[in-house]
């Protein structure tokens, strides 16, 4: 039975739910099954989507936003027909092209030409149509000179360009795109945006998942916010983008506490690190152009001469935006005994554009090759808020002057 949807509805999602069965230990061999026959029942159900309902109209640019693990990519994969839903139904009008996990499914052992044709067929063209469109794809991707190269020799940027070009050239009615613009150079990103706008103006529907609130505000007709598998908000993209930021602030972004991102010999540990506002209160949200401080507390486990404590701030687009260390305060920090605690404080005015950032604190020796005692990757997340999403990556203190130089006509006349 078809849903009671208007003729303009292109994607109809009706109370879709999806759970993943996560075994505590993933059993992937018969040997393990034979050796531990009773382990098979230990699993957890992870609810990825719960009763999600929405409709996307023909010609809409629809954004899906949410934090990591919120279920937005799962939703996209259900719509794309990659995952089976547990409950609910999904309806589509017209042919769909998917661009998921930065690609359309290329084979690294084949040339660009073979890959484009095979993938165009997979996405719904006939082999003849695929061959006819090949030139358009390769021209769009600007990879003509590399067309006979195997894809394993491509850089990741070239790979994404080719995949994106293939997807848009199959002339689908619905484009389902997961995080397309996270890679590729700036000029290609701009080209992608422009192409997507042009495709939408032809009446095609675009569903896309992103973390980039600037593109939600600038590109989307409507957007939807997902949190813990549930739809929290749908509608005006500006409002959804704001809710997304608030959500990050309210819950606090989950810190990266995983030990696998930890490096060092363990002679000292980073006990704590945090951002503080102008009043010295801990915070996970700082304001652009506002005052702020960063703090790192380290405990030493053995006698160390001149330890160096440092931190690096990274962003979504740039791994290292800003680096500093205790060497800025003192070349030689002194001698510390096991059990001593030291603190590094850095005070600064926030120059970063609104977005998400993180701090990676470290502690190392000052001697020799600066070997690390401890380093926590992306340990403290922070959100920078501000009124302008289209600001540059950093706001540099600057002075601008403007005025008339004189007239070129007057000079000639003289």
């Amino acid at each position: 039975m078809l849903p009671a949807a208007p003729d303009s509805a292109t994607v109809v999602v009706e109370s879709v739910s999806k759970a993943f069965r996560l075994p505590h230990e993933r059993v992937h061999t018969l040997k393990e099954r034979a050796l531990h026959p009773f382990n098979r029942n230990r699993y957890e159900d992870l609810v990825a989507l719960e009763d999600v309902t929405f409709t996307v109209e023909k010609g809409e640019f629809f954004g899906i936003v949410g934090r990591n693990g919120s279920g937005k990519s799962t939703l996209l994969k259900c719509v794309a027909g990659i995952y089976a839903t547990d409950a609910g139904r999904i309806f589509l009008r017209g042919r769909m092209a998917t661009f998921i996990e930065l690609g359309v499914g290329f084979n690294p052992d084949l040339t660009a030409r073979d890959n484009v044709i095979i993938n165009a067929v997979m996405l719904g063209l006939t082999p003849d149509e695929a061959r006819r469109r090949y030139d358009a794809v390769i021209d769009y991707s600007e990879l003509r000179e590399f067309e006979d190269l195997k894809l394993k020799n491509y850089s990741s940027g070239m790979y994404v360009r080719l995949a994106f070009a293939t997807m848009i050239q199959v002339d689908a009615d619905i484009l389902v795109i997961d995080e397309v613009l996270a890679v590729g150079d700036a000029s290609f990103q701009a080209k992608c945006h422009e192409t997507l706008r042009e495709i939408r103006s032809r009446g095609r529907t675009i569903l896309f998942v992103t973390h980039d609130m600037a593109s939600v505000e600038n590109e989307c007709d409507r957007a939807m916010l997902i949190e813990r598998g549930q739809m929290v908000e749908i509608g005006d993209p500006d409002r959804v983008a704001r809710s997304y930021d608030q959500l990050n602030f309210a819950r606090g972004v989950e810190a990266n506490r995983e030990d696998k991102d930890r490096h060092g010999d363990g002679c000292a540990t980073i006990v704590d690190a945090w951002f503080a506002d102008e009043n010295g209160e801990r915070t996970s949200m700082i304001e652009r152009n506002g005052g702020c401080s960063m703090h790192v507390v380290v405990e030493l486990h053995q006698r160390v001469e001149d330890p160096v404590v440092g931190l690096a701030v990274g962003g979504q687009h740039v791994r290292w935006l800003f680096n500093t260390s205790s060497l800025e305060a003192a070349e030689r920090s002194g001698i510390y005994e096991a059990g001593d605690r030291v603190e590094l404080s850095v005070r600064f005015r926030v120059p970063f554009a609104p977005g998400r950032y993180d701090m990676s604190p470290w502690v190392g020796y000052s001697t020799g090759d600066r070997q690390l005692m401890d380093r926590r990757e992306a340990f403290v997340p922070v959100t920078v808020v501000g009124d302008r999403y289209d600001a540059g990556l950093v706001q540099i203190e600057h002075e601008a002057t403007f005025g008339r130089l004189g007239s070129s006509i007057a000079e000639v006349a003289e």
Binding site: A80, F106, M122, A136
Partner: protein
């Protein structure tokens, strides 16, 4: 770009997305994708080798050379057997098709992980395309088989040669069935690959490829009957009877009467339909298990 003008006005009905499955979508699309994947498989295998196809021919020929020397000069199973060389090469080519396709097929779903994770398409085309590629080699290798017939002095074309296409279709169905089962189970049981290598090796020696079935029958009729329950044995034996020498026992004769043929037939179709059912049942969850 002229297609866009026409496309902009096209109308589509709202269609339910039923999620990933073994056979989703239209049959033309199923056909196009199967062919595209088979061509891809073919290209990946031969892209770098100038001699390409020759190597797939070399494998059965070299095996033939070794086995022929061992079993007709050293062990002397084939001594006195009429057309032993022809029997051996036809058995090798038929069995190698099954062995190569299934061993390649075990990992085929995982080999195409990037496609499975990113595109909605009928999952069944993956094992099917692997078997098709090998089927293509099988047909080419049969050219070599006929050359052997000619050298060996096998009597010219006979009406019974018409049985060959039927036998090949049966062999194809059985191979597809086994490949479907293996490829989908491999997703959850990754040690199936080495296991299957051993099993298919054992199967090679249990199938009358090297030895004439009459040799087994001389020792014990009943063992010969059991050996013939294997669909591969029945197909290979019947192929020899029909193609090489009418004096070789037909599959029916070797198993002890036509009604007994129901057993290999049953196993063959049982495997095929079980494979179909299993693949169909597991296809929707493949992407999650990868």
């Amino acid at each position: 770009m002229s297609a866009h003008g026409a496309a902009a006005s096209r109308e589509h009905a709202l269609v339910e997305m039923t999620g990933p499955s073994a056979t989703a979508g239209s049959w033309p699309r199923f056909y196009h994708i199967t062919r595209a994947l088979a061509v891809m498989d073919f290209k990946v295998r031969f892209y770098d080798s100038a001699l390409g196809y020759l190597w797939t021919l070399m494998k059965p020929l070299l095996s033939f050379g070794v086995l022929y020397v061992v079993f007709s000069v050293i062990v002397r199973i084939g001594e006195g057997e009429r057309f032993y060389a022809s029997s051996l090469i036809s058995g090798i080519v038929l069995f190698f098709f099954f062995g190569d396709a299934t061993n390649k097929g075990v990992t085929c779903v995982l080999d195409n992980e990037t496609l499975v994770r990113k595109i909605h398409f009928p999952r069944m085309v993956i094992p099917l395309s692997v078997v098709l590629t090998n089927g293509f080699f099988l047909l080419l290798n049969f050219i070599a088989v006929f050359v052997f017939f000619w050298i060996d002095g096998v009597e010219g074309v006979r009406l019974t040669w018409l049985e060959l296409p039927i036998l090949l279709v049966l062999l194809f169905l059985f191979t597809v069935g086994v490949t479907m089962i293996l490829s989908v189970l491999y997703v959850v049981a990754r040690d199936l690959k080495p296991i299957w290598e051993v099993v298919s090796q054992a199967l090679f020696y249990l199938t009358p490829v090297l030895f004439p079935i009459s040799l087994v029958a001389e020792q014990d009729e009943r063992i010969a009957h059991v050996v013939m329950c294997n669909p591969l044995a029945a197909i290979i034996q019947q192929a020899r009877h029909a193609l090489i020498d009418p004096e070789q026992p037909s599959a029916a004769a070797a198993i002890g009467g036509a009604p007994w043929l129901l057993i290999p037939f049953g196993i063959l179709f049982g495997t095929f339909f079980f494979g179909l059912w299993l693949f169909n049942r597991m296809a929707p969850r493949i992407a999650e298990e990868l």
